[in-house]
Symmetry: C2
Subunit: 233 residues, 2 copies
């Protein structure tokens, strides 16, 4: 993870210090496994993502549809969610350990306190009385490479709420998935990006990913998919 | 799927009918669930696919790596394989039924008997004394659309052996996955295609699929992936 850039002087009149030690508020960040109690927050995050991508007309997920399809199998066997939490205080080790995953914590030294206008709506159920807010998530699941003869992870969605962007949290979430893949002996982590999103492509390439230029996704959905339902039922 | 055409006359000496009914040998085709006993055949099929795609230098799957990663969870929950079998004889209903899937059978009226030079190597373990040969497979697994709030299927590989191509068997396998998605209430079936493979793209579009032109696959693998292993372990 890249360290945060040194902060600007606190006031224009302040002496510029030679030491780049951040003087602002530290933010404690934690990546933990999501669970069924996170569904209302996950639903809100997905909706924000749809709005951000100007695709909210394609958004039809409900809390009920997410509840019936997510968290129905153990983590990493199928759809898995990592939740990003932030707090002005260190995280106590209150989460029961999972045999395959321990929460990842990190301190982000920021130059300014983050003003989160939706703090109350995203307060974490796992806060244990502390000031813990859900800032983002990543949803991933196993895929399979027949050539490698082993699984990988496919990252379906990664989202960080507006006021927490450009602080390294997206990289923290994606790195957590990559680290988990290595830990489990998996061969690949894959995801997709829009070809015109040059900033995202640059970011991913700097993380070590290759962008496959020749492959195109084929999608069978809606009525064209439903037409196959009558043939074999 | 189109309904199977009526069978040809029983002997070559029969009167030639004015309608375009094929006069050759019918081939009975069946799509069934793969299981652990299919691994040696699946391994051979994947190897043939790698050779066909001129990517055999990327092929490192072994029977052991496939055995340890496939068929470790119930069908459709994770990696799932449909096997395509062909036979000159009708299939007896010898496969125990699965609650979520019944084998799909179809009669392909061909104008010539298929000369399969690898018949012995691909003889099916489920043949029950009949002349049943494994002709192809499709490997797929659940993916997830956060916008739809429900799963879909991702088709990782579809392969039909050389002598069985251009006979509708690829479509039979892909249609079986689509039908299963509809049966399970899933929202999408997705796969990838190379952008220069115009014949495949035409075939998929005729099946009702849309080719997404703007999305690119990002892949983190090899040493670039391994580098994330040390960060959080």
């Amino acid at each position: 993870m890249a360290a945060a850039a040194p902060p600007p002087p606190p006031t224009p009149a302040a002496i510029t210090l030679p030491d780049p030690t951040p003087t602002g508020q530290p933010v404690f960040a934690r990546v933990r496994l999501g669970n069924a109690s996170d569904v209302p927050h996950i639903h809100k995050l997905i909706h924000q993502m749809a709005v951000f991508e100007r695709l909210s007309h394609h958004f039809s997920a409900t809390e009920a549809s997410l509840s019936s399809t997510l968290f129905t199998s153990p983590p990493f066997q199928s759809f898995t969610i990592f939740i990003l939490e932030v707090s002005p205080n260190p995280f106590p080790p209150t989460i029961p350990p999972h045999p395959l995953f321990s929460p990842i914590t990190q301190i982000a030294p920021l130059d300014l306190p983050i003003n989160d206008p939706e703090k109350e709506a995203f307060r974490s159920h796992n806060s244990g009385g502390l000031d813990v807010v859900i800032a983002g998530f990543v949803l991933f699941f196993p895929n399979f490479s027949t050539f490698l003869g082993k699984p990988g992870f496919y990252v379906e969605d990664l989202f960080v709420r507006d006021c927490y962007r450009r602080k390294g949290f997206g990289k923290m979430l994606l790195s957590a998935v990559a680290a988990q893949a290595v830990k489990m002996g998996y061969g690949r982590v894959e995801w997709v990006v829009l070809d015109w999103n040059v900033n995202a492509i640059k970011f991913y390439e700097e993380m070590g990913a290759k962008v496959l230029q020749e492959w195109r996704i084929c999608r069978l959905t809606g009525e064209a998919l439903q037409a196959y339902g009558s043939a074999h039922n």
